[in-house]
Subunit: 427 residues, 2 copies
């Protein structure tokens, strides 16, 4: 008896899945005990380049729900509404689902996972976060004593590609973005990736698994990389840091921090060396030190590989529905997060301006770890010269830092807004 699989979507991951499940058919049926057969595909449109052979095709996702010969449905259409309806309908009929869709999990995951649990039907999603890296499996099965204290990740390949290009080749954000688009690493509308929402959705999922709390996308603080300049990268480099777009989750007693933003990472940290579209996740644990995983975050074959692993495991009974939401989520506001900060201030090149910056920071009990006036970068105009002042602060609560920045920005000699980038010490 074959294991019948339906696929929603016919894009690059679905095509990878059709290819890999066919070329590895013997191997897979050796594990599951029965042949895995894709018997139905539903997608908005048929693609001439994909040979479906005897596989039933329709443009109606509902056909994947109605077809009771299907044992599992693999959801690869992305987006939220249609995917949500499909997954919910399949689960409710007792049909297991595998999805690569972080958006639907970030927005409807609590409900869908509860249905899966109630109905005792698997809902698997390794491919939804960090593509080929088996981080979901690790979080679900390797930390039963739940000793994770924090996690940090580079989980958006588009941002990482752009920041790497800016850093290695000195190209501006816009140029790096254009190249990412040409290479297929960024969408035509790149907002979702470069604005950080993609990483925020993935972080919400990781945090839910790591700390056994509900998925809470609305509680994730989210900042993108659009405002990072080559100067920022160069100045950070001079302080011994790389700028990376990080996703950070941390549990501190019963309070949980979730934030996605550009961050200064010490150059000798592994994350600083994860480049281009590669992804990485680091777990800080009580009992097993720091564990680091790196690998491809996307790509048809890598993602399809994760889906096939989920499918094979489920089909052979090797699956545990993740427990999430067992603990209440008390989010920490970004204003209450403590970090060191990188500040880039455009100040009038006038005696006393540095002293007044120091005074304002000191009046908020913020001490300066390093400060550099970039004399060679003075911008002169008719009546004034503006000099960049670059500062690394010691650790301070963000609320307090913000007060000091407001005060600084109100000074005549300082341009508004002041650029601030958090420094990350979880490593």
């Amino acid at each position: 008896m074959s294991i019948n699989v339906g696929i929603a979507g016919l894009g690059v991951v679905a095509q990878g899945l059709l290819e890999l499940s066919s070329t590895n058919a013997d191997q897979l049926s050796g594990i599951t005990g029965n042949p895995l057969c894709v018997t139905r595909v539903a997608s908005r449109r048929l693609r001439d380049e994909v040979a479906l052979g005897t596989i039933a095709f329709s443009t109606d996702l509902e056909d994947l729900v109605k077809d009771d010969d299907l044992d599992f449905v693999i959801e690869l259409i992305g987006g939220t509404d249609a995917a949500y309806n499909l997954i919910k309908a399949c689960l409710s009929r007792g049909r297991g689902v595998i999805t690569a869709n972080k958006a639907v999990l970030a927005t409807h995951g609590n409900e869908l996972l509860a249905i899966a649990r109630d109905r005792d039907v698997p809902l698997a999603f390794e491919a939804a976060v960090a593509g080929g890296i088996p981080i979901i499996a690790a979080l679900k099965t390797r930390f039963p004593a739940n000793n994770i204290k924090w996690l940090t990740g580079i989980i958006n390949g588009t941002c990482n590609y752009i920041l790497t290009a800016m850093s290695d080749e000195g190209v501006a954000f816009e140029d790096a973005l254009r190249r990412a688009q040409e290479l297929g690493y960024a969408e035509a509308d790149p907002t979702f990736d470069v604005g950080g929402m993609d990483a925020a959705q993935k972080l919400a999922i990781l945090v839910a698994l790591a700390f056994n709390v509900p998925i809470a996308i609305d509680e994730v603080y989210c900042e993108g990389i659009q405002d990072i300049t080559i100067d920022d990268i160069r100045h950070a480099d001079e302080f011994g840091y790389s700028i990376k777009h990080l996703a950070i989750g941390r549990q501190d007693d019963d309070v949980i921090e979730m934030r996605v933003h550009p961050a200064l990472v010490p150059k000798d940290n592994l994350l600083a060396k994860v480049n281009d579209v590669e992804n990485a996740v680091q777990l800080g644990t009580t009992n097993t030190g720091v564990l680091r995983f790196t690998g491809p975050g996307a790509g048809g074959h890598a993602t399809a590989s994760s889906v096939i692993a989920d499918l094979t495991n489920i089909a052979s009974g090797l699956y545990r529905q993740p427990g999430i939401g067992g603990n209440a989520l008390k989010p920490r506001s970004i204003s209450d997060v403590s970090s060191a900060f990188f500040l880039s201030i455009a100040a009038t090149d006038r005696p006393g301006v540095i002293a007044s910056i120091g005074e304002v920071l000191a009046s908020h009990s913020i001490s300066i770890a390093s400060m550099v006036q970039k004399q060679e970068e003075v911008v002169r105009s008719a009546d004034t010269s503006v000099i960049p002042v670059v500062i690394l602060t010691n650790t301070v609560v963000e609320r307090e830092l913000n007060k000091s920045l407001q005060e600084l920005e109100s000074l005549d000699d300082i341009a508004s807004p002041i650029k601030k980038i958090r420094v990350v010490d979880l490593a």
Copy 2:
């Protein structure tokens, strides 16, 4: 009804296990559905510092076999014979076993895993390789399409600690070893670790899982780090490489390479940055690019954590007996392996000696990627001066290189033996 667990051994891992299973008792029984209770410990001697409470204790391992109230036995005594007898007896009685013992798996693993399969009884061993890194679980469950082409690892913490100390602080091998012993990172008799056997045993296990072949410890080429000098490390550094003790497995059509030896690793490779007692495993795959895992390779809590994860998974039915030995193992002799080589030659400081080295290598079609005469390191004596000549070759089959070295060593002006270290390009 509780899940009753017996432990063989009462060392640091067993103590970690007792502590973690007790402090996380609620969490663990939440996953397994029943409380996990350690009810019996057998060890050569009782330790006063360990409070066993109501746990039965004896010095006879056989008691762990006879006690039919035990659901699982955790083997933490190490070594081969006693562990083999214990595991075999337990499995044969249908009792699941979790072991942290690479030695018993490397020498008796094929038989023990076959018994486990035949009897449908779990034999789990995440903790046996790379302590806290969930690499066994990944190999067992995340690559059903079995697309692993090669794996490289730093899987012996003692060697990595010693090489890191030699490299970072310029201390000699003997001094680094002594410090490792003082810190508890090396045994009183360190041969097993620094000679490479520990890494060889772990590699045999990883390769069996990665390529579905039998465990074949006798086919692993094994070299330790005893002959690595600070000069080697410094010269490699000047060429842009670190020296690490690596375990390498590679499948090339149906031939499999298994080797453990010091190797030059390009400094920008992740492995070059894995320092001290940290472990790392890299997987080169067809469909998911290169995956990298790093974390603690040893330590009571890290190892105990892996054991608890195995135990919890097995006790909740989340376990698949690994398929190994499905494919025949055709080993590749080290003489047939191709690599680039680092050569360190002590040559008489005399006109023409460099030319003759070049000629001999050329006559074996070995081309030189870099060659440096370390003029500042000339060792002068009454009638001769000896100069170190350091060479990086291009890729060559080792058999051919060995012939050229024999020829070089027969020359009057060249000291014997010539130091050779392989350069690794799998990354």
